[in-house]
């Protein structure tokens, strides 16, 4: 049962335009959400996060929006650049033993930014 879903396996956007990546979740216990970017043969790199008590967080070209009632979050990249081409993972956090946190990941969306 996939608790975090990224329904678009791929997305192609022109350089300079907005990229919008979407993520849906089913577990109401998720209290923190993150986006990671991954290049081939590298580990995921943290991009931006948002707490469940907020509905928006911005960091430079990246903005994450959270709609708790719809259990939906999205990542906006404006303007998109060729270096943004990568696989983007949405992740949701729950608390474990010893206050560690488990990240539940979506299956990723491959973003290609074209010239």
């Amino acid at each position: 049962d996939q608790q975090v879903k990224q329904n678009s396996p791929s997305l192609s956007v022109q350089e300079g335009r907005i990229s919008i990546l979407n993520c849906d979740y089913t577990n109401s216990m998720f209290d923190y959400f993150l986006w990671y970017k991954k290049y081939p043969a590298e580990g995921p790199t943290f991009l931006i996060s948002i707490s469940s008590i907020k509905d928006k967080n911005e960091d430079g070209r990246f903005t994450v929006f959270l709609n708790k009632s719809a259990k939906h979050l999205s990542l906006h990249i404006v303007p998109s650049q060729p270096g943004d081409s990568a696989v983007y993972f949405c992740a949701a956090s729950t608390t474990l033993t010893g206050t560690a946190s488990k990240l539940t990941f979506g299956t990723g969306t491959r973003l290609q930014v074209t010239l």
Binding site: G43, F46, A100
Partner: protein, 113 residues
Amino acid sequence: DAGITQSPRHKVTETGTPVTLRCHQTENHRYMYWYRQDPGHGLRLIHYSYGVKDTDKGEVSDGYSVSRSKTEDFLLTLESATSSQTSVYFCAISETGQYNEQFFGPGTRLTVL
């Protein structure tokens, strides 16, 4: 970049052999995690540690064990490797537990023949 290294980076082994993967950090972070990445599944948590000698199971822990005898090292052992354990393994660390990002190592690609 967070100081996380994983060794080996690539390994090919045969079914039934034991395998140990190492994660080493220089950040002195308390929390360490092992994930595996497979097509169609994203990353899934195998085991995690919330302190030296404090470990617990994640969602896909069968066939794996871990040990953490010092802050900087977290070992993942496949007691008897199977072909279903062919995967890319990522170690992650975080300074605090809740409401905090995890930083990932470069990964180990393991192939079990």
